[in-house]
Subunit: 219 residues, 2 copies
DNA sequence: GTCTATATCTAGATAGAC
DNA sequence: GTCTATCTAGATATAGAC
């Protein structure tokens, strides 16, 4: 919220100081991603994060008033980027929605820090009272509901078979992604996460599509 | 290792003190499961664990020489119990192996502490240098390899279709379990984890079984 | 087997100098 | 915007009394 106000203020008073602050904030956020990925929220340390950024703890707390504020900012920042990149235009078909998931997995395999962070925080947030508990509950519900709605529309268009529990299918697809990311974080070089998700979604598509076809193959 | 020696000593000198120690150790292990579930390894505190057990930190460190020793003991203890209970007799068919997985999921839904602990530690252990990093790499490789071998034998017996990537299928099944457990830990009352795993495995079975049948239905 | 005491270190947050 | 200083609290681990 402070950040938003800062940006608004910048527009009305376009002096040269704010952009520097924005860049510093961005570097703090990036560094925090790696720390939350390694330590989770509880065991992360503002002093260590600040040291990695190259400032002191006091300096960091000028930009984020508390550790919890930093966590919330990191999560919101991360998810905003992704929803713009992967989920902003409504998919025109179920196959296209599945392709978006595969694209997201591919992207995640190129940013291990962020991927590990979500593995870590999603697990940690299972506890009532964790500062991101409600956030993650809402996050999963939103993603799964949106996915379910996409599949429901595909049924109406005759792409997918009717009479299937598509809410269950949606939750299952996300579970496969998360589970594969967990294995991948442990041993990234031992298997192709993107390929394995594609195999799963292709088999799924064959079973639920009205004409029995899978995803369009790549080359 | 100290524990093993202690048990050996008990046999040769059967005085009445050791069983008390064993019971105390068991209570420490149980309590530690809940703490590792909530805090992970790094953010857990020996003093808080000891307080929950009803002893002091010094007392706890008599039984486990360090925090890391406690972690390793908890993991080994947990996995020993489960492999005896679910994976000890070789399954006679792929369907039976899948049923074991479903049974495990059902059991896990009845012990949220242990389930959350494995969610948490598996994510935390993704980092190189985590005291359970190698443990979890080995754990996944063992589980998936064993699963793969079971499916391979089923192919030889003509139960399952040949020409399918059964190593991939095995990793995928474990991913579904883990992903569902992650969602379940966040909101246990909103969905039936066991039922959802059964739905997935039944659909999978229909697609890979030689005669196209799924899992035997439950009444 | 458990206690107390202690050493050493690190945590998050606040206040105020520059 | 970043620093230093400071406060309170809590961490792991060791040593030795009982």
């Amino acid at each position: 919220m402070d950040r938003t106000q800062g940006r608004t203020a910048r527009r009305s008073a376009p002096r040269g100081t704010y952009p520097v602050g924005d860049e510093r904030r961005a570097r703090i956020l990036d560094t925090a991603v790696d720390h939350f990925a390694q330590w989770g929220f509880h065991a992360s340390s503002l002093a260590r994060i600040a040291k990695d950024v190259g400032i002191t703890q006091g300096g960091l707390l000028h930009h984020f008033r508390s550790k919890e504020d930093l966590l919330v900012s990191v999560l919101r920042h991360s998810d905003e980027q992704d929803s713009e990149r992967f989920f902003s235009p409504d998919p025109r078909s179920a196959a296209e929605a599945f392709e978006s998931l595969i694209e997201l997995a591919r992207y995640n395999s190129q940013r291990p820090g962020r991927t590990r962070m979500f593995n870590m925080l999603a697990a940690e947030a299972g506890e009532h009272g964790h500062p991101a508990h409600e956030y993650f509950i809402h996050r999963y519900r939103t993603i799964i509901d949106k996915n379910t709605e996409t599949l429901r529309l595909a049924v109406e268009r005759g792409e997918l078979k009717p009479g299937i529990d598509y809410a269950g299918i949606s939750a299952e697809s996300i579970a496969v992604m998360d589970g594969l990311q967990l294995q991948w974080a442990l041993a990234p070089d031992t298997f192709d996460m993107t390929g394995r998700l594609r195999t799963y979604l292709d088999r799924l598509m064959r079973q639920i599509s009205a004409d029995g076809s899978g995803l369009p193959g790549r080359t």
